[in-house]
Structures are given as structure tokens and as C-alpha cells.
Symmetry: C2
Subunit: 384 residues, 2 copies
């Protein structure tokens, strides 16, 4: 397998982009990545998108976006793994370049969610859960994560305030990210007083509904070196699955797919979790970030809440998590999220993250999750 | 890149499978492929599915199916390119094995379409067309292909009877395929007297609405040789895109993505189109097969109808097309079709196609199409 580098990244302001169509949002973002890479052609594209069929009534997305980017007839594949679709697209692009099939590969993630009303969005997102065993009974994602949160509180003594602190920390970071949907700070009190969604989770425990895209350009390291640009290598890729229905898991507070995907990615990279300087993880709900840092092995099982309270995951802490603002503050256009995580890590490893820069970061990790952990994709990145 | 072989295939009877859920249909089919390969584990899965979100309200399909097949936590990716999703899944599995990432990879295709009524199916399939330029104006796929048919008749003198002969030939073949949805013969008169759908296309010009799945098992040729089983190599893979809106093409009778994908696959295989002994192509409507054999270079532009009338594409003709019965008689569960094409070619190259066997077939080709040709995936197969 060939070594693979990211040679360009693109992301525009996220939010409720009612004045732009899905194809417009994608093309603007993809052109930014192509400009950043300074290349004049692409050989292939991978698009991560969870459900353009349900959100905007449009499938066949690879071809549509290749055409509007002026790239037909190049191969363009859309991949889906619910909210991990972006991370999966990155992995498929990585495998493609590593295989020798193509040199310059654009990996894009996109979701246009706000054309639907909130009920319709909730239904569409619910298709990431097991429809015959979970959806049939009427439970939606806030409810599923509320079950996880309640179990974590009961089993490990995690507090309501610790959950809130995840959101507060991510908004502290997001306030430093001009592309974030909600670039402002919040307080623990604000979280605790926000409307209840599914006990114990409140509105400010939940990532928002967002329109947005992100894109990166991949190339073989050998080719990338000739471009005289900063290079960030992808040195590990792991993808794992689990039951998508919570009822089929032995312990709903443990994210086995996160553990397995991280184990594989770290093994490929020849690194340990404590070697990593900066993390972007899938905080779709506050409880998710707590479970993820446990499954990654950053803290012991059950100690995630305490770690957040102790400030260990802050930008200036020993293992900074979600300097971009995470899904909570930056926004969560589901198919785009996994690619946007890579965009942030590349900026961090290039030293271009501005006021949210993690000092001296040389190794980074992204963790992108589908559903309540039915899938997880982890990548490890290294500055050249 | 490593050489890649297909070491097992699986397909069950297709039709209106109301008594089975999507996951059941997949698991039965995947187990048949695993049994055929005689292996005891999988390393990864690729699932081609156009729109389980719209058809059955279920995304996150890779994880769901890996779990129900008893394969979690292996990586499982769902890929989509409208009706070319199955062919695209095969390509991504091929790249994965060729790269060295995984050895035993299952490629599955599936669609469960008949849980919806015909209007809803027509809407779901319509998401393969450009929703902002085509769907918005109310045109659906029979209408789009009717435009192509009318243009082909006007420009090249293709006759209404020649269109019918495509369906008659494919039903002649399908009558020999016990897994086909409609395993019986029809006549030119029956096509011409069937209800009009979109002038000039009639019901018997159209592939049906189908539930079904297909699966193949890939492995590196080096590994496959140790299994002492018949080996079919994948020696070429091509994927290309075009505008998905007909209005954006210079000539709607010419399928540029088919031409480009075939050109690339043949170049990789080091073969010419006249070297190929047997073809499975995407006859979603009778006119499609005529345009495809032209774009593949089997006949001159405009001569497809005459070739069919002359019997050149029959099982005993110089270039047999769709010995399986094609989409027309075998059925068209859209995400499964591209994988089922590979299943048929493997059976042909192993000499296991029974009464529809193309004598002495050593090289085969599959061509799987999305929309009206917005994407096309071509693979070339060789008997060991």
C-alpha cells in the first residue's frame, strides 16, 4: 500500500443555509479544497452523505456533484454509514489512493438538513437506528442517547453537571472557530436550564441541525512531496461495526465499535493513544463524548465525566478534544462531520488553527460515529 | 495492486418477497455466497443499495447487515450510485482487496422495493434523476427513457419492433433462469399490445419492481489458489460519471459514461471488446440495452436495433447479451442488479449456467448503470 497524504482542505461557514442548494454548498467547499491543494485536476471523488434521499429527495449524489464540480467523467462514489458517512468516505479515499488506483482524490462530506421541518429531520436521522426494533417503538436519537446517559450516571456516578461541561468546553472552543454554526460560549447553568428533550438530556446537550460540507484532497505522499506544500500524512485507518440496536448490546455505556476502530487505526499507525496530541471526536450528544474518550482508552471506563470536569480535554489540557467546537458548537451536517474533523486536524497539524491551536501538535486523531455507535471510523494523522 | 478473484457467489429467487424483511433477504443470500466460497470468516463487507432510506426507512445499512450476518465488528460500507450501486460496491471491494487492506471481502447488493406502492417506488427511483432540473417538472424514469427511445428512432430509424425484440430475447433467456422474477417467454405482439407507460415505451419494455439480493466473495488470487476452488479473476474495473440530467447532454442517444467506463476497464484488462465472450448489461428499459451495446462498441452508433433484430445478441449469437434474462426478466432490485450481473458472469465462466450456458465462455463483461447513464460501472472477468 502507498503512503497517503492530505494536501488540501476546504470548509465554509456552517448553519441554516436556506439560500443555497446542496450542490452549491458542495461546489463552493470542494473548490476551496482544490485551491488549497493547488492542483489542476482530480482523478476520483468520494462523497460521504447519510441521507440526501430523505433530506432533499436526491440520490445518485456522486455523479451529480462530480458534474457540478466540472469533473465528469471521473469516478465518483457516494458512501453511507449514517453519521459516520464522512469518516467512511475518507477511509474509502485513503484505500483508493493507497491501492494505486488513483492519485488525486477528493473526499467530500455533505448534508443539507434544514429544508425539512424538525419532525421530518428526526425521522430521517432515526433511520440510523434499527427501524424494526427501535424506530418501530417510536424512540428517536435523543431518547436512545438519554438511555445511555441515564445508565452511565447510574453505573458510574456521572453527574448532570459533567454532561453540561462537555457542551460548555466545546462552545468555549467553537467560539474561536469562525466557521462554526454557533460560535459563542455557554454556561453550565444555561445547559441545565435549557428545555428538556429526553431526560436527562436537554437542548444544549444536543448537536444542532445543520447544512454544510467539508472536503479534503488526498494524494500519494511521493506525489505530494513534489508540490512543495505542507503535508499531513494519514498513518492509520480503522473502521468497525456493532449492533445498531442498543437492545442487542451487552453494555450500552460501552462503545465497542469505537474501541475496535481505534485499536485498528493505532495498530496500523504504530502508535499508542497517549502519543496523540489532538482529538476530534463525535459529540453528537454530551454523553457521547464521555463514552468515546473512555472507549478510546484516554481514561478508564466510567471516568469520562470526571476527566471533563478536571479539564483534561480542554485545548490546554493533556488530551485536547474537539478544539474545533465539535459537533455541538461547530454544527453537525451529518455526512459532512467526519470530513470536517479531518479538516480541523490538518489545520492543527499545520499550525494554522489560530486562537484554538493546540500547541506543538504533531499527531492527531479523528473519531466519527454512526447512530449510537453501530459504526465508528478512526483515522490517525501525522505532521510531516 | 494485487490480483483479485471471485471465489463464491450467492443469489436466491427474486420477486415480490413480502414475507421477508430486507435483512433476511440479505442474510440468506450472503450465506449462500459464503458457503459457495467455503470460507470461515470475512474481513470486510461492501453493500450496494440505492435507497433503503426511501424504500424501507432504514439507513446505516452496512452495520445492520454485518451484525445480522454475525460479522460485527468487521468494517462494512454501504455505497450508492443509484441503480449502479451494486456495480460500485463490486468496484470498491475490488479496490479494497487489490490494495492489500483486506483478504476476504463480501460484496452484496440489495433492494427491498415492494413494501411501497407503485407511486412511492416511482418517486424513490426518481431521486436518481436530477431533482432540481428533471424531478421538479414531474418527469419520471419511463418518461426520460421514452425521450431517449423517441430520439433514437428519429435519428437512426430504430423501430418499435426492434425495441420489443430486446424484451423478447431477454425473456427467452430468463425462461432458462429459475431465479428470475419472470421466468417465461413473451412475444413481440405481447410487448406491442401491453399498456402504454410513456410513449413509445410499454409495460413490457420496462424492467419490473423487485425485492432481491446478490452476493460475491472476493479474495486475492494468491490466497484463492490455495482453496482449490474454481477461480474467476476480475481483470478490469472502470467507473465513469456523466450529467445525471438529460438536458445537460449533447446527444441523449449516446451514453458517454458507458463508453468511458468500458474504455477504462478494457484498458486495465488489456483486452478489446471483441475479445469478450459474454455480456450482462443494464437493460432497465429496452432502449437502454440498444444504447449500451452501441456505447460498448459492439456495434456502430445507431445500429443497436438492427443488431438485436439480426439475433447478434442471443445466447448463440456472436456477442451474447444478458443470458441471465437481464433486468427485464430476472428482475431489477436496483442496488442488487450490479452484483447479480457478476454472479451470472461467474456462473458462465465456471460453465455452471445450465441451459443458458454460453458455450466456451472464457471472458465476460458486466455493465451496470445509474439513472439514464449518469453513472456506469464496467468489470471484465476471466476464467482461470
Amino acid at each position: 500500500m502507498r503512503d497517503v497524504a492530505i494536501i488540501g482542505v476546504g470548509m465554509m461557514k456552517w448553519g441554516e443555509l436556506w439560500e443555497k442548494s446542496l450542490r452549491t454548498i458542495f461546489v463552493e467547499t470542494a473548490l476551496a479544497a482544490i485551491d488549497d491543494a493547488g492542483i489542476d485536476h482530480l482523478d476520483a471523488m468520494y462523497i460521504g452523505c447519510m441521507s440526501s434521499g430523505l433530506f432533499v429527495g436526491q440520490e445518485h449524489l456522486g455523479s451529480l456533484l462530480a458534474d457540478y464540480l466540472g469533473q465528469k467523467p471521473i469516478p465518483a462514489a457516494r458512501v453511507e454509514s449514517a453519521c459516520a458517512s464522512g469518516g467512511l468516505a475518507l477511509r474509502q479515499g485513503f484505500i483508493d489512493v493507497a491501492s494505486g488506483m488513483n492519485d488525486f482524490v477528493l473526499v467530500g462530506g455533505i448534508e443539507k438538513m434544514t429544508d425539512l421541518n424538525a419532525n421530518e429531520v428526526t425521522y430521517a436521522l432515526g433511520t440510523a437506528a434499527d427501524q424494526e426494533y427501535e424506530g418501530y417503538h417510536g424512540i428517536t436519537f435523543p431518547g436512545l442517547y438519554a438511555l445511555i446517559a441515564r445508565a452511565h450516571m447510574e453505573k458510574y456516578g456521572t453527574t448532570r453537571e459533567q454532561l453540561a461541561m462537555v457542551a460548555v468546553k466545546n462552545h468555549d472552543n467553537g467560539a474561536l472557530n469562525p466557521l462554526a454554526q454557533y460560535p459563542f460560549k455557554i454556561t453550565v447553568e444555561a445547559v441545565l436550564n435549557s428545555p428538556l428533550v429526553a431526560d436527562p438530556l436537554r437542548v444544549l446537550d444536543c448537536s444542532p441541525i445543520t447544512d454544510g460540507a467539508a472536503a479534503v484532497i488526498l494524494a500519494p505522499v511521493e506525489v505530494a512531496k513534489k508540490l512543495n506544500k505542507p503535508i499531513v500524512k494519514i498513518i492509520g485507518s480503522g473502521h468497525a461495526t456493532d449492533s445498531i440496536a442498543l437492545a442487542h448490546r451487552e453494555d450500552i455505556t460501552w462503545l465497542e465499535a469505537v474501541y475496535q476502530s481505534a485499536r485498528k487505526a493505532l495498530a496500523m499507525a504504530g502508535k499508542k493513544i497517549e502519543d496523540i496530541d489532538v482529538f476530534e471526536v463525535h459529540d453528537c450528544f454530551t454523553i457521547a463524548e464521555i463514552c468515546i474518550i473512555e472507549a478510546l482508552g484516554l481514561v478508564e471506563k466510567g471516568k469520562g465525566g470526571q476527566a471533563v470536569e478536571a479539564g483534561l480535554t480542554r485545548i490546554d489540557g493533556p488530551f485536547p478534544v474537539n478544539p474545533s467546537g465539535g459537533l455541538k458548537a461547530k454544527g453537525h451536517p451529518v455526512g459532512a462531520t467526519g470530513v470536517a474533523q479531518a479538516v480541523e486536524i490538518v489545520k492543527q497539524l499545520r499550525g494554522e488553527a489560530g486562537r484554538r491551536q493546540v500547541k506543538g501538535a504533531r499527531l492527531g486523531l479523528t473519531q466519527n460515529m454512526g447512530g449510537t455507535g453501530g459504526s465508528s471510523v478512526v483515522h490517525i494523522f501525522a505532521a510531516e
